[in-house]
């Protein structure tokens, strides 16, 4: 569904993304991870036709971006990181504007707007002003907006940043439901557990380069299924082990409080990128 070949983006002298190649299959939920400034948002901006690449080829739904931008725009839905709803309009009007921009017929548009407002549980607030909405409500409305024209690919840039845990879980359920409907989802996040929970495959980026790409499970097991974590004067340390007994034996030799647990994606991430991301 999405194919990126040798994509680079430079802003003046600074290289934001360096020679990125990846393929995402139809109906997949794919996560793009990386520390702040790794190039995730730039990648999304290029894939959503907001920025043009310096080099490389981007193919979405069989169309090459440089040749058929309008077709790609018609089949993608985008939920950006910042709230970019029109605060001078009501939720209904925001959706109607989107529907008009995507050339939806009036009767289809009306039906979809009603459907989606119910879907994101905002149908009772359809005619309030968006300005008064909470972060979670705005985010849900943005997802409804992105889905209105029935896109084949959905891009979510940090969809749950700054949201309550309850709202975040509701969004996760919503994203999983999309997958069941055959929509391809590409999301960026720096909440590792979000990627672990949702994505079939994740790519980890650092300083504009792709440093790993696999399923969350395979990435974890690459270092060992178990991890022992302890703290000494220099900070938190971890050691990976293939089986529980070896891990337990090692933990026994330490004089401080230790934790023995299964390796999670965060351990793999830290091991790969060499620094912890702010949660």
């Amino acid at each position: 569904m999405i194919r990126i070949e040798g994509f680079s983006k430079k802003f003046g002298e600074r290289t934001a993304v360096d020679n990125l190649s990846l393929k995402i299959a139809k109906g997949e939920i794919f996560g793009l991870l990386g520390p702040n400034g790794a190039g995730k948002t730039t990648t999304i901006r290029v894939l959503t036709m907001l920025t043009r690449p310096t080099a490389g080829k981007i193919v979405i739904d069989g169309c090459e971006a440089s040749q058929n931008e309008q077709h790609i725009k018609a089949v993608i839905g985008v939920v950006p990181q910042h709230f970019n709803l029109d605060i001078d309009l009501t939720p209904w009007e925001n959706l109607e504007l989107h529907g008009r921009l995507h050339h939806m017929l009036p009767e289809v548009r009306k039906q979809r707007i009603e459907e989606l407002l119910k879907y994101v549980e905002l149908d009772d607030r359809a005619n309030d002003m968006v300005q008064k909405f909470s972060g979670g409500m705005k985010r849900r409305l943005m997802i409804a907006r992105a889905l209105l024209h029935q896109p084949k690919v959905l891009f979510l840039d940090e969809p749950t940043v700054g949201l309550d845990p309850q709202v975040r879980r509701r969004l996760w359920d919503l994203i999983r439901r999309l997958k069941n409907e055959g929509i391809t989802v590409l999301l960026t996040t720096h909440y590792i557990e979000e990627a672990e929970n949702l994505c079939q495959r994740v790519a980890i980026m650092e300083k504009g380069k792709l440093i790993a790409m696999d399923s969350p499970l395979a990435l974890c097991q690459q270092f060992g299924a178990y991890v022992v974590e302890w703290a000494d004067n220099e900070g938190t340390k971890t050691n990976f082990f293939a089986d529980r007994n070896a891990a337990s034996a090692f933990a026994g030799t330490l004089m401080t409080t230790t934790t023995l647990r299964q390796t999670n994606l965060e351990d793999a991430f830290v091991e790969l990128t060499g620094r912890k991301v702010a949660g």
């Binding site: 993608i76 910042h82 970019n84 029109d86 309009l89 008009r100 995507h102």
Partner: protein, 246 residues
Amino acid sequence: MLYDIWTVFWRDWLVLRRRIGRFILSRMVSPVLYIVAFGWGLGRSIQVNQGNYLDFIVPGIIALNSMNISFNSVGSPLNMSRVYHKTLEEYLIAPIASVSFVIGKVLSGALRGLISSLIIIFLAYAFGAHALINSWFVLVLVLNCLVFSSMALVAAMLMDSHEDMANFNTYVLLPMSFLCATFFIPDHLPTVLRWFIEILPLTHASIALRAIALGGEAPLFSLLAMLVYIFSFCGIGVWLMEKVRE
């Protein structure tokens, strides 16, 4: 393409309709002040070309007011939408052509300029001014609104902050409000300054509006000059909309 222009226009119309009362009231303030201060107050003792000064400045006030309103209806909101709210992205992501966006925005700015000009025309009559309003007058007014709403679009795409937008207002619009044949005819100014003023778009608008309002012919050269401004600004606007993706 027509449908997309309508969509862009429709959004602005929706917002205007919600605030139409407030819009009209606030638009009455500055023209009333101009008419009272310059027309009634100062104007009593001034004779221009054997005519009444109030009749002389009404076309100037209409020109400068339609400039300000058309400019500010597009400039600030679009700049905020691009730099702060990022709502411009909604249009950039949509499968519409840049030219549709540009035309839709420019038309909606011009509409606001026209509504406020209508208000001034009513006020001016109420204050006892005499002006001949015919279809040429309306045509020049429409052109003037289009010149400044398209200029605003260019400015909004170029300026990277709200403060820069305000500076643009101070350095470009404010001098034009006073110098471009709005309150006086710039014949007695130094030659170089006069040439410079004669290039500015608002000069063409006030000269043309005044000529028509006082019963004269519409100066076709001024109309042509305004058309050149409109097409140039719209062209630059489309180019900037494309460039914003680089």
